[in-house]
């Protein structure tokens, strides 16, 4: 049983309730109503309170009030939000705009609380009273908005002491050039990695291209910066040269692979950042891709009946795909939206083309600076573009 009510609050309590409000992860959505004359801003602001951003691809498209309200309902259902608070509700341009939002909130099983410190009577209060939203006074709105958050704050990215820019000279002069051009502190960091790679390769030099490819791939597996990548490549070349081999490869290909791919799955904070896209299918597509699904073999075959209302996959060993806890609300929201769109159990869960899904993955990487995983079936595909050759020194190539 959901409720809608209008709280007339003390201004200080009202501001505090906004300042200390929880997030959608805590089951509460708080939107500060802005003074505006268009209803779409009201809907967009509720979506923004859930996490949607205005500066990602697709955010400026106006999909119509019906779609906006369906998105609101789907996200609220996906996150199992229990309370939606509209602060400064008296700022709304037309009180009747609240009606459809209240319906969407109710359909998602959440309570709607309008808060204002304007006055406990007047046209807005009269409208609320006439539309089944009793006016309550003297209640601290913080009781509705403040939650004991179960989410840890995003971890600070570890400082990367490794210089981003290092010389691009050939391997036989690279270390000398690095010593000449880098500040001593930076060179010390670079040289530490250089020596470590050099020592490991000299200890067991790869004698052919395949082995050298595997060696380079393993050395670069945990590297995320271009400076580290170039250092590893040059140190490997120098070490192989002293062992009697000339290693030739396309350094730019290694750099591109390192920049694009951290070879790890998304963490909770990165997954939550996917709420930036108001359309749940974008985040869902990224998360299915992150889990290792391919479009042709897995995603396009996923039907609505394969996803439970709880957001888990069922049938035909689909439960083998693992998802982070923070990914589950995306699956629930996407499922809820598909049901609202009229999809049946045998309809696709992700009614998008392979190109759309590929676009979504690319957008998320560039808009949100997310890392990605290597292609599921060919994790070492990127190393083919290295065009690596190994030639014993003294023989012609």
């Amino acid at each position: 049983m959901t409720t809608s009510r209008y709280l007339w609050a003390d201004p200080a309590d009202h501001s505090r309730a906004i300042r200390d409000a929880g997030t959608v992860d805590d089951g509460v959505v708080l939107s500060v109503v802005r003074p505006h004359r268009r209803p779409y801003t009201f809907h967009q602001d509720v979506l923004a309170a859930i996490g949607a951003r205005h500066d990602v691809r697709g955010a400026t498209a106006r999909s119509g009030a019906g779609r906006e309200l369906a998105l609101v309902e789907s996200w609220l259902a996906g996150y199992r939000v229990d309370t939606v608070v509209l602060a400064h509700a008296d700022m709304i341009g037309v009180p009747a705009w609240i009606g459809p939002v209240a319906d969407a909130v109710e359909a998602a099983g959440a309570d709607l609380v309008l808060v204002s410190d304007d006055s406990a009577d007047g046209p807005f209060a009269d409208w609320c009273d006439a539309n089944g939203m009793p006016v309550e006074t003297g209640l601290d709105p913080s009781l509705c908005t403040v939650r004991a958050s179960g989410h840890e704050p995003p971890a600070e990215r570890a400082g990367r002491p490794f210089p981003v820019h290092v010389p691009r000279a050939a391997f036989y002069v690279w270390r000398a050039r690095a010593r000449d051009t880098l500040p001593p502190a930076d060179f010390a960091v670079v040289d530490r990695l250089y020596r470590s790679v050099f020592a490991s390769v000299v200890a067991d030099p790869p004698g052919d291209a395949d082995t050298a490819t595997r060696t380079i791939a393993s050395l670069l597996a945990d590297k995320t910066g271009p400076g580290e990548c170039v250092t590893v490549v040059r140190a490997t070349q120098a070490a192989m040269f002293t062992s009697g081999f000339f290693l030739n490869l396309v350094t730019n290909a290694a750099l591109a692979a390192v920049r694009a791919n951290e070879h790890r799955r998304l963490d909770g904070h990165e997954i939550r950042s996917l709420r930036a896209y108001a359309e749940p299918w974008v985040g869902t597509a990224v998360l299915l891709h992150d889990a290792g699904m391919e479009y042709g073999a897995n995603m396009s075959r996923l039907r609505l009946r394969h996803v439970t209302p709880d957001g888990t996959l069922t049938g035909n060993r689909r439960d083998a795909w693992t998802f982070h806890d923070d990914a589950i609300p995306f699956l629930r929201a996407q499922r809820h939206l598909r049901v609202l769109e009229g999809a049946g159990p045998d309809d696709p869960f992700l009614a998008r083309s392979g190109r759309d899904v590929a676009d979504a993955v690319r957008w998320a990487r560039s808009d949100l600076n997310l890392s990605g995983t290597a292609h599921a079936s060919q994790p070492d595909q990127w190393v083919k573009s290295l065009r690596l050759t190994v030639t014993p020194v003294g023989r012609s190539r």
Binding site: P11, S15, I18, R19, P35, H36, T41, D55, M91, D117
Partner: protein
């Protein structure tokens, strides 16, 4: 210097030397600093020429945060408060951005910026501008400090009770009198400090009326006088002639 955008600082508020510190100035300065530390809203009221904007610019230059000054024109357009704030904070012209876009961009920018936004002559703004400011302050969860400056600004914010009730503290400037006047004008021109107080009070009664801005004009007119020599009655009279002639003209 922390004011990152000086294009909207009024000419009269640009200081060449240290300001004339009056009790009103001291009170307002302390309150602006306090409100800035609290990311709160402060109102600075007082008649024209009493030093409100000078104090706000001086304080904005000395808080350990970025700060910008936004000045409302006599009849500001509905979006001016958003446009000017966006331009001052980001340094970019807002071009054809809509109200919705400007609100979104400022909503993202202001908490990251986390500085002091001084809105001068806020009394000229419509209630809609005050609504935008309250919305920005609330939706950013108090991510920046706001100083509302202007003549009768306290009366102006009362037109929008949600802003009035969110003003954490306020300071009111007034025309200077007695010893406060003598101390303040003595900082503007050393010759004023050495002058006969009776001459100072006569000049104040006739032309300056306790307004620090008019006293600053007097100091400018007498800038070529020897600072080690007291300004005499006839010199004050000559300065009055210049100032009154300017007014008559």
């Amino acid at each position: 210097m922390t004011v990152t955008d000086r294009t909207q600082v009024p000419f009269s508020a640009i200081l060449r030397d240290d300001p004339a510190v009056t009790p009103y100035f001291r009170d307002a300065y302390a309150k602006i600093r306090y409100a800035t530390e609290e990311n709160a809203i402060v109102a600075i009221d007082g008649p024209p020429g009493t030093g409100k904007t000078t104090c706000a610019v001086y304080a904005a230059d000395r808080v350990a945060r970025p700060a910008v000054i936004v000045t409302m024109s006599d009849r500001p357009a509905p979006l001016d408060v958003l446009r000017h704030s966006y331009q001052a904070v980001t340094g970019e012209r807002c071009g054809r951005l809509t109200r919705y876009d400007l609100g979104n961009l400022l909503g993202d920018t202001l908490p990251e910026w986390g500085g002091l936004l001084v809105v001068d002559e806020l009394q000229n703004a419509q209630v809609s501008a005050m609504k935008e400011l309250v919305w920005l302050h609330e939706t950013t969860r108090g991510g920046f400090a706001l100083a509302a400056v202007g003549s009768d600004v306290l009366e102006a914010v009362a037109r929008y009770p949600q802003l009035e009730s969110r003003v954490l503290t306020s300071a009111t400037f007034a025309p200077l009198e007695g010893d406060d006047l003598l101390a303040a004008v003595g900082r503007l021109h050393p010759g004023f400090a050495l002058a006969d107080p009776a001459d100072v009070f006569v000049h104040d009664r006739v032309v300056c009326r306790g307004l620090i801005r008019t006293w600053a004009h007097t100091a400018r007119v007498l800038a070529d006088d020897d600072p080690s020599v007291p300004v005499t009655g006839p010199r004050f009279a000559w300065a009055r002639g210049v100032l009154m002639a300017r007014r008559t003209a």
